[in-house]
């Protein structure tokens, strides 16, 4: 049986979270059960003449309804067209795609670092870990943005019962500053063995990557790149490897080890 499938799904739910941020749920997708945190789906967006599909991290899944949720921000033509989707509209979904986050070791403190639209896969990972028996007390969710409007879905995050640290550059919510400063503080204040998982803007990921290396903390980051195919056959979504040559973000990634990629 195929690991990756292409299916037509319908929009079953749509929520406007902020003026330019939406969550949509699509169903039915036959492979919901096999989706792992960090994986993404590739959507063909109707009503815009874009040639390529667009990639979106899975935000949550509901195996009974065979539905999956994604969260997106209006960015360009594709996401603008997605914002005008209505319940019942159909679209083609290709997935599940890419690598997923590995599980932490049982004794590790878990740093979850999200920025902006990097939130969905980190949220999904957090929830997945908790549902799979990890102690929420050991999960530290660092959520950064420029201002309070960048930090979406806080109520939902709160429900997970983990430790959350909100950080905004303008200080409008939580700690004022960069999310990496809060993470560094956490590194310094906690002695136990730690692991970090991060997704967010490339600038933030670069800082997280450096910081983790500096403190010798293992972990993974989730990268983005424009993705023509999403399945590894076009060689368009490459990033340079520290070890030389390139790697594909859609196939070897989007989840990479700390220190693996030249950012």
């Amino acid at each position: 049986m195929s690991k990756i499938v292409i299916e037509n799904v319908s929009v079953v739910k749509k929520k406007k979270l902020t003026p330019d941020c939406f969550a949509i749920t699509v169903a039915p997708f036959s492979k919901v059960k096999s989706i792992r945190p960090g994986q993404f789906v590739h959507l063909q967006i109707p009503n815009c003449n874009l040639f390529f599909r667009r990639a979106f991290s899975v935000y949550s899944v509901n195996t009974e309804e065979k539905s999956l949720e994604i969260l997106f921000k209006v960015f360009g033509r594709g996401t603008a067209a997605m914002a005008s989707l209505k319940k019942g509209n159909r679209l083609s979904l290709l997935g599940p795609l890419g690598s997923s986050f590995r599980k932490p070791k049982k004794n590790e403190l878990i740093g979850l670092i999200a920025g902006g639209v990097g939130f969905p896969p980190i949220y999904y990972l957090s929830r997945f870990l908790i549902e799979n028996g990890f102690d929420p007390k050991k999960l530290f969710f660092f959520y950064g943005g420029r201002g309070r409007s960048d930090l979406i879905e806080l109520a939902r995050l709160k429900k997970l019962g983990l430790n959350s640290v909100l950080v905004t550059e303008d200080g409008s919510l939580g700690i004022k500053g960069l999310v990496t400063s809060a993470v560094e503080k956490w590194f310094l204040e906690n002695k136990g063995s730690k692991v970090v998982y991060s997704c967010g803007p490339e600038g933030m990921l670069k800082a997280v990557d450096q910081l983790a290396q500096q403190y010798n903390i293992p972990g993974q980051i989730s990268l983005e790149a424009p993705m023509p195919c999403g399945v590894g056959i076009c060689l368009g979504c490459i990033k340079p490897l520290k070890s030389g040559g390139y790697t594909r973000v859609c196939k070897e990634g989007p989840i990479f080890e700390i220190g693996e990629i030249i950012l």
């Binding site: 195929s2 690991k3 990756i4 499938v5 292409i6 063909q44 003449n49 874009l50 040639f51 390529f52 599909r53 290709l94 790149a225 424009p226 023509p228 195919c229 399945v231 590894g232 056959i233 076009c234 060689l235 368009g236 979504c237 490459i238 990033k239 340079p240 040559g245 390139y246 196939k251």
Partner: protein, 305 residues
């Protein structure tokens, strides 16, 4: 009666006329996660060169209207690793394997094909004379004499069929096709990508680090069809049609203009299972129109005048 969609190129049979195009299906591994490669008429592997190549830095693809630009720069694992790992991987599938090769000069093509001759899983070789993204090759694609010479030298070292893959970026593609036929090519495949470009108006940067790249996808289908039409009138060897094919109806158009098989490229990036659908729909079309074999359609366009 179930219609016959098998075809024959240079004495080799193909279970159906749908191949995947070089550079758009890797070495098959990724597509195998989506469908059984044995459903393909054949797979044309990513161009291989003597030495492994990383290709151009990012960005090396860009979106276009009904298509895309690429300047991958012939990224590939090199012939050694290709033979060892990739050809071996393909053993298990019941489909034709066409190995696409490129080099900087005639002797590169000859050396590569000599190596491949010892590996019968390479059912055919396809000589990429036409990649517009590296200096390599483009010269042969536009020089009839060089093309003829290269084909004839390859024919001496490779005992199975040899396909010459042609570029549309020439004044007369038919002239190059005739030269390849004279050199002994068993078939020609066409077209490779059209030279194209795109610029980001915010950064003033080209959208490809190679500055220019190759345009592919439905946008180029009419150009590819006209090329097949012209080459069909000029040569006797079979033609494999390539360029913007996205559905069964496109395949029929290519056959009518002179193709004996086709390759699907860029469409795989948007609909990776397109070959499977197309094979099904081709059968339906033939049944509905009471055509016994798809081979009957080659060159059957009813031209005006």
């Amino acid at each position: 009666m179930t219609p016959d969609i098998s075809v024959e190129i240079a004495g080799l049979s193909f279970k159906n006329p749908i191949l995947t195009a070089s550079g758009t299906c890797g070495y098959g591994e990724e597509l195998a996660d989506i469908f059984d490669l044995s459903q393909l008429g054949g797979i044309v592997t990513k161009t291989i060169t003597m030495k492994p190549r990383d290709g151009h830095p990012s960005p090396r693809t860009a979106e276009a209207s009904s298509g895309m630009l690429n300047a991958i720069g012939l990224a590939n694992v090199g012939v050694d690793k290709f033979i060892e790992e990739k050809l071996t991987y393909l053993e298990k599938f019941d489909t034709r394997v066409v190995v696409n090769v490129a080099g900087t000069c005639t002797s590169d093509y000859v050396n590569l094909c000599a190596r491949l001759n010892d590996h019968p899983r390479a059912d055919m070789v396809e000589l990429n004379f036409s990649c517009p993204n590296v200096d390599v090759g483009m010269e042969i694609a536009t020089d009839a004499k060089l093309a003829e010479e290269t084909v004839s030298k390859v024919k001496k070292v490779f005992s199975r069929p040899v396909i010459a893959k042609l570029s549309p970026n020439v004044t007369s593609i038919a002239d190059i096709a005739v030269a390849c036929e004279n050199g002994g090519a068993d078939a020609v495949s066409l077209i490779n990508t059209l030279v194209g470009m795109a610029v980001d108006i915010n950064t003033f940067r080209p959208r490809l680090t190679n500055n220019t790249g190759g345009l592919s996808g439905p946008a180029i289908k009419p150009v590819a069809l006209a090329c097949v039409f012209k080459v069909y009138k000029a040569v006797k060897i079979p033609i494999i049609g390539i360029g913007g094919i996205s559905n069964y109806s496109d395949v029929i158009e290519f056959f009518l203009c002179g193709a004996s098989a086709v390759q699907i490229g860029t469409t795989l990036f948007v609909e990776p299972d397109a070959p499977v659908k197309i094979v099904k729909e081709l059968k339906k079309y033939l049944s509905k129109n009471k055509i016994e074999s798809i081979r009957e359609l080659t060159g059957k366009v009813r031209i005006y005048k």
